[in-house]
Structures are given as C-alpha cells and as structure tokens.
C-alpha cells in the first residue's frame, strides 16, 4: 500500500495499511478504530500523534506496540514484520516501552521506587548487576542521587518525580522506542516542561525514538520532529512539525490549532459536536459533516462539495514530506 522513499536505515516502527476493528456492542456494527494508516517512526525521531479522544490514536499506538493485533495491514519493527508468537512479542516489548498518562495509577503504591524500576528487569530475567542498572535508569530519568530514591514509596514523591520513576522503569531495559501516551497531561504546569525536556534529552543522548500520543499541540511544538493528525481512524495530515503547525493544510488541523488558548489573534474555529462514531464512518471525506469548508459554502465555490460528500480520500502515503487528506488542498 505504501511507497516509502528509500531511507538508509529502516524505521524503528512502522504501520503499513493498518486497520483495527472492534466488534460493537448490541446492535452497533464494527467499530473501525483505526481505518487504514501508514505511519513511520524513524530511528532517533520524535513523532507526535495528535487528535481528539476517540480518534483512534491510542489504539494505533497500542497496535504499534504489539498490544493489539491489526485486523489488516502490518506493523514493522526495524523493517521486519512483527511476529505475534508470544516469545517474539516478549523480546519485542523489551525494545518498545510504554509511558502512560497518570503516574499515580501506573505505580503500585506498595512497591518502592527500586522495586518499580527493577520489575522490568526481573520479568525479562536480566542477569547482570540489577542494582547498578536501576541506579543508572533513575539517574537518566533525572532522579539524582538515585540511591536516595530506592526505598521511597510513590506517596512520598511529587507528581513529577512519579512520572520520572515511570520513565526510569521504561529506560531500565535499554529500549529503542518509547511510546508515551499523554505523558504530561496529568502534571502541573511547572512540572510539564521538566518532563518534556527530559524526553527531548533522552532522544539526544540515547538516540531513542519517541512516539508521543497527545491532544496537546503545544507539546508537539515543544519536542516533536513530525506531527501526524488523526481523525476518526485515519491520519488526515502529516509532516514536519514546523510545516504542519505553522501552515496547516487540513481544515481539521486548522480548527485544532485555532482553539489552542496560547495562540493569540487566530480566529477561533470551534467545531460543533464531538468526533463521530467509529461504527458509522461518514461517506466521502470522513470529516465533511463537521468541516467548516463545507459548512461555509467554500467547498461549493471550489466545486468540490460533491467530492467531499461522496468521494473517499486515499490513505496518506509515507514519504517524509507534508501531506493532507483533503479535497480542498490543491484545488483552491
């Protein structure tokens, strides 16, 4: 499905034509949570996957981590298709680690910091010096001196420190990739920048690849090399952060940007309603029922309204450029 431009090293993680469907409850049909996505996370790159709740971004991230199996398409790690045999998955999960939104929920309140970080090593039967490894991971996550934190419990730590413990738990296995799902949205404003700076430094110092799932465009501007905007199971715009966030092409990206409170002077485009239901994806462009270009009559003037309502858009190709899945792009 994809025609990727040849790159020297294969991407750390890649989705090719990935769809994930869940069976709906009761009379509802299949929910197409991810509906045909091509996405590449190059080695050493930070990609922000942005969109509203329910757009499928977390499902896509889970699929890239081998936690969901795609109903069609495939996931590649380092250019090799992911095998879902349990032994292969265990080895794969050592290389791809997850950091979740709420550090308080992610940490066992009765485990000390040492136990929390060492858990991954024990699961993967690490045979070297466990203590040194844990200390090293805590130090990298910015908890110094690490020994001072070994015997602390989560309730004795601040929110930012807890998130650092979670990150240390991910780092201890020397992963190639970290997938972070809303890593700072439950943290205080002052701590947020500290954690983002840590993620950025891990990429620079360890060469880690990072996929950050978020609804926060400010976060993407702060740390991401590339931004992929997801709407109702599809990536609707993707490209280098500067281009996507400074010159957004898709009306959905434009609307998302316009409601970021920090951007002064931009005319606010508040979309009515919430993202529609993945069990009933609209025909044509899946965004057309909420699209301001269609609603304002602009699409009719451009002579594309019929296409917006009936003609589906192709999956965005991989390629390293900036692209948007919208009938209006290039027609006006």
């Amino acid at each position: 499905m994809s025609e990727s431009v040849p790159i020297v090293a294969p991407p750390a993680l890649e989705a090719r034509g990935v769809s994930v469907t869940f069976s709906g409850r009761g009379s509802r049909g299949l929910a197409r949570a991810v509906d045909g996505v091509d996405l590449a996370l190059e080695a050493g790159q930070i990609v922000a996957l942005v969109g509203e709740s329910g757009c499928g971004k977390t499902t896509l991230a889970r699929t890239l981590m081998g936690l969901e199996r795609p109903s069609s398409g495939e996931v590649l790690a380092g250019g090799v298709a992911l095998s879902y045999a349990s032994r292969d998955l265990t080895a794969f999960r050592k290389r791809v680690q997850l950091v979740l939104q709420d550090p308080t929920g992610a940490l066992n309140p009765r485990h000390s910091v040492y136990e929390a970080v060492a858990e991954g090593l024990r699961i993967h039967k690490y045979s070297g010096d466990e203590r040194a490894k844990v200390a090293d991971a805590l130090g990298r996550a910015g908890l110094r001196p690490p020994e001072r934190f070994f015997l602390r419990y989560p309730h004795e730590l601040s929110g930012g420190q807890r998130q650092r413990v979670v990150i240390a738990g991910a780092l201890v296995l020397d992963p190639d990739v970290i997938v972070a799902d809303e890593p700072v949205s439950s943290l205080d404003a002052s701590v947020r920048g500290e954690i983002l700076a840590l993620l950025l430094r891990l990429r620079d110092e360890l060469g880690l690849s990072l996929l950050v799932v978020t609804h926060d465009l400010g976060l993407a501007w702060n740390i991401a090399d590339r931004v992929a905007v997801m709407y109702l199971g599809r990536i609707v715009e993707e490209g280098p952060t500067e281009e996507v966030l400074s010159a957004p092409q898709h009306p959905y990206t434009q609307a998302l940007l316009s409601v970021v409170p920090e951007i002064a002077g931009m005319k606010e485009i508040v979309l009515a309603g919430e993202p529609p239901d993945p069990t009933r994806i609209p025909a044509g462009c899946r965004f057309h029922p909420r699209c301001p270009v269609v609603a304002s009559g602009e699409a009719a003037r451009l002579g594309i309204e019929q296409a917006c309502r009936t003609q589906p858009l192709p999956v965005l190709p991989l390629g390293g450029g900036h692209a948007a899945a919208c009938h209006a792009v290039g027609s006006g």
Binding site: E52, S190, E194, H215, N222, T241, E242, V270
Partner: protein, 334 residues
C-alpha cells in the same frame, strides 16, 4: 459593593498537632459580570481559598479574615443561611465533576433536585420547564433531560454540571478546573459557554486552573498563587503576556506559543517543587526555585505592591518587567 470579596483571608489546617497554613492573607474581589482566574500549582491553596466561600472546608480548617458575599460575611452566617446561600447565591462546578453524576438517575431529575430543594412545592411541570431552559442555556437539546449519564460524552456531562450549578440562578459561579479532563475542542466549547454565561446572565465567575493560558483567554483578571499567597494579580492578558513575577512567568512559559520559534525544542519548566505549607523557606517563599533570586530574597518578605491596576510581590519586580526570557532557560533536574 463587590459580589464576592476576600478580605485578608487565611486558612490553617490542623495536622498532626501543628497548624499548617494553606492560605495566607489573600485579598481579592469579584464584581458581577466579571471573571477572575486563580492560577497555581497543586497545593498552592487555590481550591482551599474558594472552599471558604460556601463553607465547604473540613472542620479542621480555621478561617481568618472575612469572606463577603454581597457584603454578608460568610463566616458569620447560621447553617440555615449557608444552606440557603449555596446554589441560590453561589454554586460550584467541581473538578472532574462529571464523574459526580448519579449513574442510575436521569440527568434532568438531577438538575431538578436543587430547584425542588430550594423552592419546596415547585410543581413537576414547572421544574421540567426550568430544566429545559437550563439545558438550552448550556447548549444541549431539551430531550437530553431523559438521558442517563453514560449516554452522554464528557463534554455533555460537563454541560449538565454547569446547568445544575445555574439551576437556582446564582449570582456567582465557582469553577474548579472545569475543563481539565476534557479534549481541546470540547474544552474550547465549554470555555466559550462559560464566557457567554458571564456576559448574558451578568454572573460573577471564579475560575481555578493550573493552566494560565486557559485563564488568559477566559477571564478578565487573573491572580497567581504560590504557597498560599497571591504573588501577582492583574488584567488577564497582562499577567499572561508580560508577567512581572518570575513564578507567573514560569507558569506562562510552561504552555508554549505554538509557532513561536523561542519555544521550539525548548520546553520551559520550573525546577523543584513547591514548599510544604508547614515548612516555608522564609523571605520570599519562591526564592529557592526562583531563577533570578538575589541574596536579600532569602531574608526579606516582598510586599504585594500595587502598580496601576496590577499587584505583584517580588523584590525585583521594578528591575525586570519581563523575566520570561530568563526562566525559559531553566535547567532540568529535581
């Protein structure tokens, strides 16, 4: 007369045999039709401060100073009067309140509950009519009254909570992190709703958030709290765009301006943690974390000085009007 006035309000909690000061000498006022934002980190005392308005604090809390609701001291009220004032004079939309809805009761009945409690004898028909009005006011179709909470999205549930808070036509609305759990687009919808309610109903709004950028777009004025005190207060856009206090500058810098090259690959944070209320560092309480502190910050307490329509408590406020540039270089560490 101000709709709400905090006059030198302090709150101390009794904990393990010692008094812990959570709020220390806060003075603020909100007029009808005005919105006031209160910003600060977890534990800075912002929720405790607004808890004094409807006497919502636990028994261990000692409140000093005066909290005046339309000139009437809340602390002098009898319990009967407090109950009458709740909902009808002032009401609260709590953080994560959408989880507070009863899952097995239709939302219309939940909105009607305070109406019937405050005016016993209200007919079912009158209550229903009022519920329809309220739903329309918060931008929901009237037939949503028959829905159960699980049939509604997060944004719709938050609208229901706002409708409930408006049920007895209060003059003051207190919103404690009302959009924190919501998506960007839904957050924008709820913020627009709050702004239009302030305008249309001439409400006073007290809006608490740790996100200074949200307050800057919604509120007329913003107060920034640190360790139980106000460190800066002024017109919202000024506090956000040209903060005078280094702490306000750090909060403003934490949310990057998308498109501004200064923030690209440069997340700005503030090292360290706020002090425990029982172990204040002395001098200016922000000095251990302050990127621009000088020697006398450790010993001298900065007074909250008024300059025009702006108040700021920093010994160096005159020297540097905008400290944003300095704080954005913050070192990472614990």
């Amino acid at each position: 007369m101000a709709l709400l006035e905090f006059d030198d309000v302090s709150v101390t909690y009794r904990s393990h045999g010692t008094d812990v000061p959570a709020v220390r000498g806060v003075s603020l006022a909100v007029q009808a039709g005005e919105s006031l934002g209160i910003a600060g980190e977890s534990g800075c005392g912002k929720s405790t401060l607004v808890g004094t308005v409807l006497r919502l604090l636990p028994k261990s809390a000692k409140v000093g100073g005066r909290v005046l609701l339309e000139g009437e001291d809340v602390n002098e009220m009898t319990w009967g009067r407090v109950r009458a004032v709740r909902w009808a004079e002032a009401s609260v939309v709590f953080q994560g309140a959408m989880h507070a809805l009863n899952p097995v009761q239709r939302v219309g009945d939940q909105i009607a509950e305070p109406i019937v409690l405050h005016s016993p004898g209200t007919s079912d028909k009158a209550a229903k009519k009022r519920v329809s009005e309220l739903l329309e006011q918060v931008g929901l179709p009237a037939d949503r009254a028959d829905s159960y909470p699980h049939q509604l999205s997060g944004g719709q549930k938050q609208r229901i909570m706002i409708a409930m808070a408006l049920a007895c036509s209060p003059k003051l609305l207190i919103a404690d992190e009302p959009t924190t759990a919501l998506d960007v687009m839904v957050q924008a919808q709820v913020l627009d709703l709050l702004t239009s309610l302030v305008r249309e109903l001439n409400l006073g709004l007290v809006f608490i958030s740790h996100d200074l950028s949200v307050l800057a777009t919604t509120c007329d004025r913003v107060a920034v709290m640190y360790a139980g005190q106000i460190v800066e207060e002024g017109p919202a856009s000024q506090v956000f765009d040209v903060p005078r206090h280094p702490y306000a500058a750090a909060l403003a810098g934490a949310f990057p301006r998308v498109g501004d090259p200064r923030f690209r690959y440069a997340p700005a944070g503030l090292p360290g943690d706020p002090p425990f209320p029982g172990e204040l560092p002395g001098g200016c309480d922000f000095h251990p974390r302050c990127p621009v502190s000088i020697e006398r910050c450790a010993t001298d307490v900065p007074p909250l000085l008024t300059v025009g329509d702006h108040r700021v408590a920093c010994l160096r406020a005159d020297e540097r009007l905008n400290l944003l540039a300095l704080t954005s270089e913050g070192e990472v560490g614990v």
